[in-house]
Amino acid sequence: MAFTETVRNDYQTEIEGIKAAGLFKGERYIHSPQGSEIEVEFPVGSEIKRCINICANNYLGLSSHPEVIAAAHAGLDRRGYGMSSVRFICGTQDIHRELETRLTEFLGTEDTLLFPSCMDANGGFFEACLSERDVMIADRLVHASIVDGMRLCKAMQDTYKHSDMRHLEEKLQEHQDKRYRMIITDGVFSMDGDMARLDQIVSLAEKYNAMVFLDDSHATGFIGRTGRGTHEQCGVFGKIDVITTTLGKALGGASGGCVSGRRELVEMCRQRARPFLFSNSVAPVIVAGALKVIDLITASTDRRDKLEWNTRYWRSLLKDAGFDIKEGDTPIVPVMLYDAKLAQDCARDLFHEGVYAVGFFFPVVPKGQARIRTQLSAAHEKHHLDTAIAAFKKVGRKYGILGLGKKELIAKCELEMELVR
């Protein structure tokens, strides 16, 4: 069938519908390397503006670190640009296996397999390792890639209320007739910045004979005393059956992810995980950069310590200014506004003030839970955070939201909606 005018019109109508619903995602062009300060062209064609970036997953500030860049250059020279192959034909270099071994040591597991992304690791794992005789029991706020991966798997799906251990226990009891039970959770939840109760999850897994699957993408490299992740922080290092994580956030931020865990589960992925089997190897330049990242973060905890300091400082600045934030101690700090329009308006005004932050609203977060998600980095200096809070305060004063709690914020937005009508 040709791409007729009718077909074109249908798609255009759908795109207009996305815009009308306020869900259209535009891009802002960045003219600099990733960092605590970036140069942004927005809207397209406008003058380039230098801003403080407070919405990247660049937790350790390694995305543009000179040693990582130098290692990536050297990797490019020594191992070339691309592999032009999947791993099992002619796409595995010595450095791919070296990185897998280093990640295994770092994460405290038995083996590791690199994937093109953690999205792919999550997309491929369940189908490769579980069957219709098994059940997957996931926290309701797990990442979208886990939801997609579970949908591709024939095992029974179930969910438990977010971080509700009583509900999880009920589900484990309900599914005792299954061959294998797998509890599935994120380590740090990306939208709320809260941490899984991994110690309790592991206890329940032991009590009800279940495996534990952990996506630690927003934790690897900086959560826990030596940055190994949520399992280190919760005192269950070495007790997690499967960890998926990414090289695309704290570990240099380029791309790539992995499945790391029990040897046999990793081997099942090597044999059967379709995103692994049918995608090219991770590019040598990324592998070389990631190896340097592992060197840096195992040699010193300075960067995760600085991130921890920045997190505490930023949380205290926001609270003192009168913003309603989600409590926690991770570098994901959601500033709660509850109303989608208010979140978008504040993000736009912050950009005018030189702070790049993004508003999130339904369906990315539940209805009535709109927010600006701020994320700290070890690349932020104190002056960045002081400048950013001044902008937040200015915008907060403009909308009269400083010092307001959840109920007052919602009431204020509802009143303003009434007045507009």
Binding site: A138, R140, D158, T159, K161, H162, D164, P363
Partner: protein, 85 residues
């Protein structure tokens, strides 16, 4: 309120409202379009209904529209109870 509606309402409230959630669910509260239930967590409701009433609801009938309110879910159960008979 008939028995099926009561059972569904009770299950939905227990299964989907978080602790401290002040929202009240009635027969006509929009569950999916209202953001209380998403398609990911809808699976447990479907399985509960099939087990409780010994029915099979085919995936083409388990649409977000059919699952959007307690009343529409109860109607769906009644429909498939008749089919089973």
């Amino acid at each position: 309120m008939d028995d099926i509606t009561k059972v569904v309402l009770d299950y939905v409230t227990r299964e989907y409202l978080e602790e401290g959630d002040e929202r009240e669910i009635s027969e006509t509260t929009p569950l999916i379009s209202g953001g209380i239930v998403d398609s990911f967590s809808m699976v447990s409701l479907l399985r509960f209904l099939e087990k409780k009433y010994s029915i099979h609801i085919p995936s083409e009938a388990a649409t977000p529209d059919a699952f959007d309110t307690v009343a529409s879910i109860a109607a769906l159960v009644q429909r498939f109870q008749r089919v089973e008979v």
